[in-house]
Symmetry: C2
Subunit: 454 residues, 2 copies
């Protein structure tokens, strides 16, 4: 390859590729910096000069995290797109991002995007537009920040059969749960600490309610199972209800609570209302301490993949941040440009399998729950009977006596911690409802799913 | 895409791609099984029918781990290659593998290989042949078995600057060291156990002496640093000298001993004999227990990557085994065929940077060592002086009194455990030699490198 900077003689000057950048936030500004600082090295890798021709922003005067040449900025995104060979979209939100990406794709220009909300809503439309125009849309940055997971799933696992994807895909919630686990903090205190350190936003809803992770599950689940999903296909529960007591009880039992994004193949279990397909969910989950995902601390992300032949794989790294996410954008960009220099179009994901998203009802899982009961004969028997009637068997039950409580005068109290064997989610939910209705159950707390019970 | 199995009407029948498989060992047999069993699904993913046209073996009557149709086998590898569109080489060894791969590449046929010894010796020649013929050679299976690391390094990190790669790239040695760590076993006992369980071969030399890992470091280091290396560029030390006492001492200090393959950028430190470049090495290394690689147990592999923008990434999974390694082969195959169906050639790695492999002398690292000394005044001072004279500073020093030893009659004995700060490897080696020569040092044991001292 030619290196103009080194003045290599006798080889032809490489062509120039014109790059349009939409958005100059945290990630966009880092992408611009890398394109400007690493131009010579990138030219070597791509075989063409990557020229950043402009950065479209809403407000020319907004402060930026990186100092960038003023003359690159424009408010006319459409003109910038029309003047470029490849478009990087890092604005976020549904519109005008969707319309602009379609404008580029329809003109046959490769697009790199980090827009998880858009991809989890209109991914199918964007892929169809790319395929129709013989170009590509890439979005490594949309899932788990810097961690290479979209590309390995598309290419490296393209000859295998994925059975399950388990991911810690949101750094804010992992930071909060890790703080609760290591310091015994309450959810509110851990959230406040995360906000103070910049790991959580002033309005943390999208993170703590699981919506951010749900977008990523929809995108990654689609790629893993060669099907197309939206965020509406994802059953989503956040971590606002996880208490310090839940975390403590999990620790005592050898577990840690993580907010897991899960996409898993669900087999036909003979229930006509429950087709085989893929269940997509985001739920606080107890994981055994020895599971590789249990060791993912702080704001780090990781994705654990169970495949038929490869077995168990894990991909670990920073799930957010300007420079790490920019690295993912740059990987997509260089890969797309190298392919385009080599003369071939990109190869998009295949969605031929079209597996339906299934209800969480049919998923086989385990529950952990804690019951407050009077300490007298007949209680255990009443509770066990309800489990048996619903076809749910108990894996472990621990009982401990509690001190007297003014709220329940004159009663000796006991706490029962129960972990069930795997059963259909719907059966577990019905069991829990029936248990809750028993006279001998004063309170039911700490209800949480368990993966891979040991 | 068309699915002939589903009888989709109105679309054209997909073309057929003729696949030649060389070798039917553990991995080859699994690849053949997957190609035959998953033909319909693979057709959907590729957009063409992957037809296994033959399997070249040395002996038609050798027993196989998977039952395969007899009529597929042939001993005429050349004729099989000539009849195919794509070639999978899983025979191992340098020849005839090299000549056969060149035959396929020179004819413009994509090659998938899992042959680490060949790639670590003749990789540059094979890449050049692929580029000259406008085709590709892929070898995800050659490094860390099922773990997607070659493809992510080539594509996902193509826009970043890798600073260091640390890998547990040999399952046999990781199993042995993990056994020594968790059970206190000696090297010999752990090796025997590994052999009994099939994790180590009858002749374990290539594994325990680090040669297998060294091949992988040469291959992965070349990709990470856009340069071309051979196994001769890798400084290699095995684990046969690691004792139960070393493992125990490391544990007491909060470390675990792993056989690490390392490829790291070495800056110009002003020493004219030591150019900036990349140091490649395989060495038993103490890692802090909290490092993500410290939690990689049994025969699992993992590769830890430190990149300028992405930060710290880890890729974890099974490093060997028939089906897992076959998954990596199949990923390369499907990716190559999808690109070829889409009309573009593969894009090979770039080796433009051409960074020299540097001697281990200039690498900055830390040493841990244990000294047996008489317990009297002046000893500490004599030892400290030697360190100071060589410009090596001491990070921690722990002394404990030892019981009397008949080997050293009439002396009170003490054991000193020293961990140094980071210093040039050459200075550390000279320091250790000088220490060894001191009168007051009766024995020097447990000399081992330390990464990321806490």
């Amino acid at each position: 390859m030619t290196n103009p900077a080194a003045g290599t003689p006798a080889e032809s000057t490489p062509t120039t590729t014109r790059i349009a950048l939409l958005g100059a936030g945290n990630v966009g500004a880092e992408v611009a910096r890398i394109l400007l600082e690493e131009r010579d090295e990138l030219t070597e890798r791509i075989g063409a000069v990557p020229e950043l021709v402009g950065i479209a922003v809403r407000d020319l005067d907004s402060p930026r995290t990186v100092e960038l040449p003023r003359e690159l900025f424009t408010t006319d995104a459409d003109a910038l797109i029309d003047s470029a060979d490849v478009v990087i979209e890092l604005t976020g939100g549904l519109e005008p991002a969707r319309t602009r990406i379609l404008r580029a794709l329809n003109a046959g220009k490769p697009v790199i995007s980090g827009n998880k909300a858009l991809l989890a809503r209109h991914g199918a439309e964007l892929h169809a537009a790319a395929e129709a125009a013989g170009t590509s849309i890439s979005y490594e940055a949309a899932v788990a920040g810097a961690i290479p997971i979209v590309r390995p799933m598309l290419d490296s696992l393209s000859g295998d059969r994925v059975n399950r994807v388990l991911g810690i895909m949101n750094g804010t919630t992992n930071y909060i749960l890790d703080q609760m686990d290591t310091t015994g903090a309450s959810f509110d205190d851990a959230l406040a600490e995360a906000q103070r350190l910049g790991f959580a936003e002033a309005d943390p809803t999208a993170d703590v309610e699981g919506h951010d992770a749900a977008s990523k599950v929809a995108i990654l689940g689609g790629i893993a199972f060669h099907s197309s999903y939206t965020i509406d296909d994802v059953y989503c529960r956040g971590i606002t209800g996880v208490t310090a007591e839940d975390v403590e009880a999990a620790r005592e039992a050898g577990y840690v609570i993580k907010l897991l994004g899960v996409a898993e193949r669900v087999a036909d279990d003979g229930d006509p209302g429950q087709p085989s397909g893929v269940n997509l969910r985001v739920v606080p989950t107890m994981l055994p301490r020895k599971h590789p995902l249990a060791g993912v601390h702080g704001a780090f992300n990781a994705v654990f993949v169970e495949a038929e032949n490869a077995g168990e794989l894990m991909f670990y790294g920073p799930g957010a941040g300007g420079a790490p996410t920019a690295s993912a954008v740059m990987g997509d960009l260089v890969a797309a440009l190298r392919r385009s220099v080599a003369g071939g179009p990109g190869v998009g994901p295949s969605f031929h399998a079209d597996l339906p998203a299934t209800s969480v009802d049919g998923v086989r899982t385990s529950f952990s729950l804690t019951l407050l009961c009077p300490d007298r004969t007949g209680v255990l028997s009443a509770i066990s009977t309800v489990f048996a009637e619903h076809g749910v068997s108990i894996s472990t039950m621990q009982q401990r006596d509690l001190p007297a409580d003014d709220q329940y005068p004159g009663q000796r109290l006991a706490e029962l911690r129960i972990v069930t064997h795997q059963a259909r989610n719907a059966d577990l939910v019905n069991t829990v409802e029936a248990i809750r209705g028993l006279d001998v159950v004063l309170d039911l707390r700490g209800l949480i799913r368990v993966e891979n019970p040991s």
